[in-house]
Symmetry: C4
């Protein structure tokens, strides 16, 4: 009984967290209409909480979030889950350290993705947050494990918490949903700054040793601890 009510309390809290975090996607202009979503792993259970499919950001509530198992099947919820549920579920199955996944079609990240071109690490903010270039994943159709597998294979040996799926758009991961949302916000910011910089010349790459040093400091010293 206790275990059951514990997981119910966790799910109730994650429903609110996931619902609320979509406001960061709209605040930073990463999504239009209904095109983007946040999900969270339910810790210690083979479950995830995700946005319902095709529902407006204005209409999201904790109650409208959908709970699925890690095969993407609905366990609890009145709505159909995001059509990216299978991709997110694949990530949770194969990357146990991941607690949150975000997908958007943010403009500048999509622009690099449409050319299937990685974003070079030319700003300290990129080194801090992503530890190097933002890599490109394969072009993959929705409907099976292709997208999830492309995300995992691209990110598993990378410092980066963001991948540009070719011809599609960005997916980001984090230790929890908030960290994945932060990565989505920072990704679009650096995708834009580096794009703008390259419009008028070649930005200077940061030395790999400096990238490593910046990444290490930011992951271990920045913020409140």
């Amino acid at each position: 009984m206790t275990a059951v009510s514990d997981v119910q309390a966790t799910i109730a809290e994650l429903r609110r967290t996931v619902s609320d975090l979509h406001r960061e996607l709209t605040r930073y202009g990463l999504v239009v209409w209904t095109a983007g979503n946040v999900s969270a792993r339910v810790p210690d259970h083979d479950l995830l909480v995700i946005k319902p499919s095709g529902v407006s950001y204005d209409d999201l509530t904790p109650e409208s979030m959908v709970v699925c198992d890690l095969d993407g099947e609905v366990v609890e919820g009145e709505h159909a889950p995001s059509s990216d549920t299978a991709a997110a579920a694949y990530v949770y199955r194969h990357m146990p350290e991941v607690g949150g996944v975000v997908h958007t079609h943010s403009t500048y990240a999509c622009a690099w993705a449409a050319r299937a071109e990685p974003i070079p690490c030319v700003l300290t903010m990129m080194a801090d947050e992503f530890g190097g270039d933002i890599p490109v994943g394969p072009f993959a159709l929705i409907g099976d494990d292709s997208i999830g597998r492309g995300i995992v294979e691209t990110l598993k040996d990378s410092n980066s918490r963001a991948v540009l799926m070719a011809g599609h758009g960005p997916f980001t991961i984090g230790t929890d949903a908030r960290e994945a949302v932060k990565a989505a916000v920072m990704l679009e910011d650096v995708a834009r700054s580096v794009h703008v910089s390259r419009q008028l010349g070649e930005p200077k790459p940061i030395d790999p040793a400096d990238v490593a040093s910046l990444f290490d400091r930011y992951q271990n010293v920045y913020g409140q601890r």
Copy 2:
């Protein structure tokens, strides 16, 4: 009596819907000042509901919307209707499946329109929503059926719900006004992403078979059903 009051109730509801939907045009930055409008067909009647001409978005109310017949003549309303009424009416006369028409001068769609260049389908979101390239319609002056005819001739054999009228700007259609607004929002988003992508190289076209598969899935599986 019943039929009359039914249509009055429908019109009252559409006045509110059409008035409210203009807020999506301003929210997504698709319009400035008074330059863009939404209209809706009154189902089963040869009538449409449209924005009044030159009235600020802040001042729109259900009461200020104008009801016209499908020749564009005012049937009910205290204001002159949008100067795009004739174009919308032509679309409703010739495309019975269309329930909503939207016209904006959104920046990136207009940029492609000013070059009379179709937007190539290089992102899955474009394949999902538009089923291929966004086509260009003819340059046409306001004042007769030229604009309406250009829209209909361009869209009637296309998957696309959006047309870029050359030297002018985008028109979008939908099964209802909300769907036409959604198409206007998605159009500007992909017009921007593809523009940005092409600034630094050539985005990769999506294989036509993949476009067809994505379009089919999105039209039939996405969202709540």
Copy 3:
């Protein structure tokens, strides 16, 4: 007495109108910090109402507006007037049909101004609102009549209600302050759309006869009459 109280009532109303219209400059992102202003002529009097210099848009009130004569000298008000007062006053002295003047440093208009390059008329919205290309005025330093004279000499034989002062930024005029603000909003919109269009090729100029026809219709038929 009556005449005096009439003009006082007119000034009170214009103080509110001019103060409020600055909200359109911030809404459309035409200004940052305090860099831009609206003024209005007091009809039938050699007076104008203008923003105080260097005061934040958040802090503007009807009371903080400044009344000046058409030599730019303060007649009423506790603040120093905008440093563009002399330019606006010159316009009111030499263009009796002008009731409002707006100056901003909006991004895209400034970008054309920094190259001293007119904006070509390639969109119907430009033909409607400006009746042709947006012309460039001379580079002129602040401090004497140079800016005002440059505006007047550039606009007096033009359909355009906007001028790009070289190396400086846009000034717009209108029959009243609201019309001048509208011109500033529309100018930035077309400056941006045409810029974006030209980034990837050459937009097609609209035939001068079509420009004339569109301008005539828009000035005489559009809106509520």
Copy 4:
């Protein structure tokens, strides 16, 4: 006692000022997530007030601000200070006329910084506010005095209140925190306008004598005195 309570009152006021000024960074889109900060010198004391590290702008309060000495050590406050505290402290130690320092990663300033390219003075607004080109400082890693020293060495003989740290982003200074925030806002505005202008050709430099004249007037005549 009086001196102690005076400095406490000053610190209390600066905590509020610094906390509130971060709203200008978000309003003008100069920062995302937590990436940017404002600090202020405590006049006549070897102290500064600065944003806590990694705290969201929504959550900033006067109480959460951190008071440090000019070696960057925390004197008062429950949070770890911004990771840019050492850089700001260095500036306050070496430039006694500086009362405020701001650091952002605003998009267009970062784009110039990534190319290590100064922004040429081609708009009167740049001459007014910055008195010439925006200079570039060295690439410097966080963790010692390198960033602070780079800022001071670049700005000490310049009219400019802004420096683009190569591969990193902008720092701005002012006589107080509000002036430093203003410089950050104006910097991004001119960085964007000049970038956009150069996308389609070469903007014309302003004659150095005119730059000097504009800078002198703006520093001495503009605004309320």
